[in-house]
C-alpha cells in the first residue's frame, strides 16, 4: 500500500489566527480515511490547501509521488482529485444533467467522449437516485439532493481520490444511508476517499482509518476503534479545559 495523498507539516494562518499547525497525515490508496475533529480544528482549511483553493504558508502536499504544493484547483482536478464542499455548491440555474457535464473539458480529451456519453451521465444520476429530476434546475433541489448532485458531478470525471467535506451534514437519515452506500460501492471500485464528517456513526461505518485534528494539527491517527478510545481524542471532543484544571491544579500561574 502506498500513500496516494500525503500532507506534511502544513502551516496556515489567517491574520492572527493559526488555522493549521504542523499538520501531517497520509491517505493510503484504496482506503476511506476519515478526518474528524471539533469545530475550528482546521479540517476544511486542510481540504482547501490540498485542493489548491488556499495556499499554505509552508509544508508540502503530494499526490502519488508528485509534489503539488501551490498547484491551483484546476491543476489538482487534472491530477484526478475531486472534492465537494461543506456548504454544498451546485450550479443552481443549470439542470442536473448540465451540472454533471460542466466538468467535461476538465478530463483528458481522449476520455471525454466515454466519460460524458449521454448514457453514463444518466447512469451517474441513477447512481445517486436522481434520474427523475434530470431536467430540473439544481437550485430547486433539497439540500441533501444537492449534495448528491455535487458528488455525481465530481464522480463524472472518474477521480482517483475524492475529498468529501461533510457529506452527511444537514441531510436526512435516509439520504445519509444512501450516501454511505454510494461511498462504499465506489471504494470497492477502487476510489480513494478522504472524508470530513461530524456524524460519528457515519465515520465509523465507512472509514478504514481516521485522523483526528485539534487546534490545527493531527493528534491521532489509526483504525476507527483505536481512535475512538484514544484518551487524547476524548479529551479533544469532551473539552480539555475542565480536565486541565482538575489534573493540574498546582501549576503556577
Amino acid at each position: 500500500m502506498t500513500a496516494l495523498l500525503e500532507v506534511s507539516e502544513i502551516e496556515k494562518h489567517f491574520g492572527g489566527l493559526q488555522a493549521v499547525t504542523n499538520c501531517s497525515f497520509a491517505v493510503e490508496e484504496g482506503t476511506v480515511t476519515g478526518l474528524i475533529g471539533p469545530n475550528g480544528s482546521g479540517k476544511t482549511t486542510i481540504f482547501n490547501v490540498i485542493t489548491g483553493y488556499v495556499q499554505a504558508d509552508s509544508g508540502t502536499v503530494r499526490i502519488g509521488d508528485r509534489d503539488v504544493t501551490g498547484t491551483g484547483p484546476g491543476g489538482i482536478c487534472a491530477l484526478g482529485l475531486g472534492r465537494t464542499f461543506q456548504l454544498t455548491r451546485v450550479f443552481a440555474r443549470l439542470t442536473l444533467l448540465e451540472n454533471i457535464r460542466v466538468g467535461s473539458r476538465g478530463v483528458p480529451r481522449a476520455k471525454r467522449k466515454e466519460l460524458y456519453s449521454s448514457q453514463r451521465c444518466h447512469e451517474l444520476l441513477d447512481f445517486v437516485g436522481l434520474t427523475r429530476l434530470a431536467n430540473e434546475q439544481a437550485g430547486s433541489l433539497s439540500y441533501g439532493q444537492r449534495k448528491l448532485v455535487e458528488l455525481a458531478t465530481v464522480l463524472a470525471q472518474e477521480p482517483r481520490v475524492v475529498l468529501l467535506d461533510e457529506p452527511a451534514g444537514g441531510i436526512n437519515p435516509t439520504l445519509i444511508g444512501q450516501m454511505a452506500d454510494r461511498i462504499r460501492e465506489l471504494n470497492r471500485q477502487g476510489v480513494t476517499f478522504l472524508v470530513v464528517e461530524h456524524n460519528m456513526e457515519f465515520v465509523m461505518g465507512i472509514c478504514d482509518s481516521v485522523a483526528v485534528m485539534e487546534r490545527g494539527s493531527v493528534i491521532a491517527f489509526g483504525k476507527p476503534e483505536e481512535v475512538r478510545n484514544d484518551p487524547r481524542v476524548l479529551d479533544a471532543y469532551l473539552g480539555g479545559a475542565v480536565d486541565d484544571e482538575l489534573t493540574q491544579p498546582e501549576e503556577p500561574r
Binding site: 485542493t51 482536478c77 450550479f91 443552481a92 443549470l94 460542466v102 448514457q119 434530470a134
Partner: protein, 367 residues
C-alpha cells in the same frame, strides 16, 4: 441505446422534436421577413430605424454572450463599438478607399481590431469580480472616451472624422447598410447560439453560477472569460464600423457613448438575460421605440426618462425577461395539455399521479 430510466425524467415540453421543428420554422420565417423588409418598406425613415435596430440586435447579442452567460455585467462595451468605428474611419482614410460596397469588407477587420482592444481591457478588468468589475468597465469606458478626444493624431479629436459617402440612390441607400447590419446581427446570433449549445458555453454558465467550483472541476475560468469577451468585442466592433460608415462622420461622444452601454444591457434584460433570443427580442422592442420617441419629441430627453422607467418595470415585474417568462408560461400550458390528453401516464405508479394532476389541470385550464 434506449434508456429505460431516462424515460422517467420529466421531459422538457419545449424540447420535443416537434417543438424544435416549429422553432426552426419560426427562425427561418423571421430571417425571410428580415431580408424582405427593406424591399417592402422603402421609406428611408423606416429603413433607417430598422438598420439601427439590427445593429443593436448584434451589439446586444454580443453583450449577452459575455455578460449574460458569465454573469459579469460589463458596462463598457462602447469601448469596442467605438474602437471598431474609429478603426473603420482610419483604415478607409489611410488606404484612400473609394466609397462603395467594397468598403464593407473592412467591417470584419474593424471587428478584429476591437477584439484586439479587448485583450488588454479584459486582462485588466477580469482580475475583478461582481460590482468591482462593473465599476472597472465603466472606468475603462471613460478612459477610452477621453482618449478619443485627445489622441488627435488618430481620432482628429472633437473635430471628428469624415468617412467616404457612398453614391447610392436615395431608394437603395439604406438598403446596403441594412443588409450589412443584418449580416452582422445574424453572425452575432449564430455565434451566441453556438456558444449556448457548446460545452464551452456550458462552462460560461457554470462560471456565472459558481466560478470557484467551476475552477475546481477543471474549467479554465480566466481563459474562457477572456476568449468570450474578445468574441463579443469582435461582434460589437463590427456593429460600430457599420454605424460609422452609415453616419458618414464620427465624433468621440457618438462612438463612445455611455447610453449605448446601458441600452444594450437593458435590451438583454428585457428580452431575457443569458438566452439567445432575449437580446434580439429586447432590441426589437426598445430600439424602434427609442428612435420613434427621438423623432417624435426632439431632444431625446423623454426617451431617456422612459428608458429608466422601463428598466425599473422590467426588474420589478419581469426579472427573468420576456423570453424566459413566456417560455415558462408555455411550458406550463403544454404540461397541462399533455396531462389531459395522455391516456397512458408515463410512470407505472399511475394511480397517485393522476389523482394529483387532476386539480392542477383544471387550474391550468381556468387561466
Amino acid at each position: 441505446m434506449a434508456q429505460p430510466e431516462s424515460a422517467q425524467a420529466a421531459a422538457d415540453p419545449l424540447n420535443t422534436s416537434m417543438m424544435r421543428n416549429s422553432r426552426r420554422s419560426i427562425v427561418l420565417a423571421a430571417l425571410a421577413i428580415a431580408v424582405a423588409f427593406p424591399f417592402v418598406f422603402t421609406n428611408p425613415a423606416v429603413t433607417s430605424i430598422a438598420m439601427f435596430t439590427l445593429l443593436f440586435v448584434g451589439a446586444s447579442s454580443a453583450w449577452n454572450m459575455f455578460s449574460g452567460y458569465t454573469g459579469y455585467m460589463a458596462l463598457g462595451n462602447a469601448v469596442f463599438y467605438g474602437s471598431g468605428a474609429y478603426f473603420f474611419a482610419n483604415i478607409t482614410d489611410h488606404l484612400h478607399m473609394k466609397s462603395g460596397v467594397g468598403l464593407f469588407a473592412m467591417v470584419p477587420l474593424a471587428g478584429l481590431f476591437a477584439g484586439l482592444v479587448a485583450l488588454p481591457v479584459g486582462w485588466l478588468a477580469l482580475r475583478t469580480r461582481r460590482h468591482t468589475f462593473v465599476v472597472i468597465t465603466i472606468a475603462i469606458f471613460f478612459i477610452f472616451q477621453l482618449l478619443a478626444y485627445n489622441l488627435t493624431a488618430i481620432t482628429n479629436g472633437s473635430s471628428g472624422m469624415q468617412l467616404p459617402i457612398p453614391h447610392w440612390g436615395p431608394r437603395t441607400y439604406n438598403t446596403y447598410f441594412y443588409m450589412a447590419a443584418l449580416v452582422v446581427a445574424v453572425i452575432a446570433i449564430v455565434v451566441s447560439w453556438g456558444l449556448r449549445r457548446s460545452s464551452f458555453g456550458l462552462e460560461l454558465l457554470a462560471i456565472r453560477d459558481d466560478e470557484d467550483r467551476a475552477e475546481g472541476l477543471g474549467v479554465k475560468t480566466t481563459r474562457n472569460k477572456l476568449a468570450t469577451l474578445v468574441l463579443a468585442a469582435i461582434m460589437t466592433g463590427m456593429c460600430g464600423a457599420v454605424y460609422a460608415y452609415y453616419l458618414g462622420s464620427i465624433y468621440p461622444p457618438f462612438a463612445f457613448e455611455a447610453i449605448f452601454d446601458i441600452t444594450i444591457a437593458l435590451m438583454a434584460f428585457l428580452g431575457g438575460l443569458g438566452t439567445v433570443a432575449g437580446p434580439v427580442v429586447g432590441a426589437l422592442i426598445i430600439e424602434p421605440m427609442q428612435q420613434y420617441l427621438t423623432l417624435r419629441f426632439t431632444g431625446g430627453g423623454l426617451s431617456l426618462i422612459l428608458f429608466g422607467a422601463l428598466f425599473l418595470i422590467v426588474i420589478r415585474f419581469l426579472p427573468e425577461g420576456i423570453v424566459p417568462s413566456l417560455g415558462g408560461l408555455l411550458r406550463k400550458r403544454l404540461r397541462a395539455k399533455a396531462a389531459v390528453h395522455s391516456s397512458a401516464p408515463p410512470t407505472p405508479p399511475s394511480g397517485a399521479r393522476v389523482a394529483t394532476t387532476g386539480p392542477e389541470v383544471s387550474g391550468g385550464a381556468m387561466r
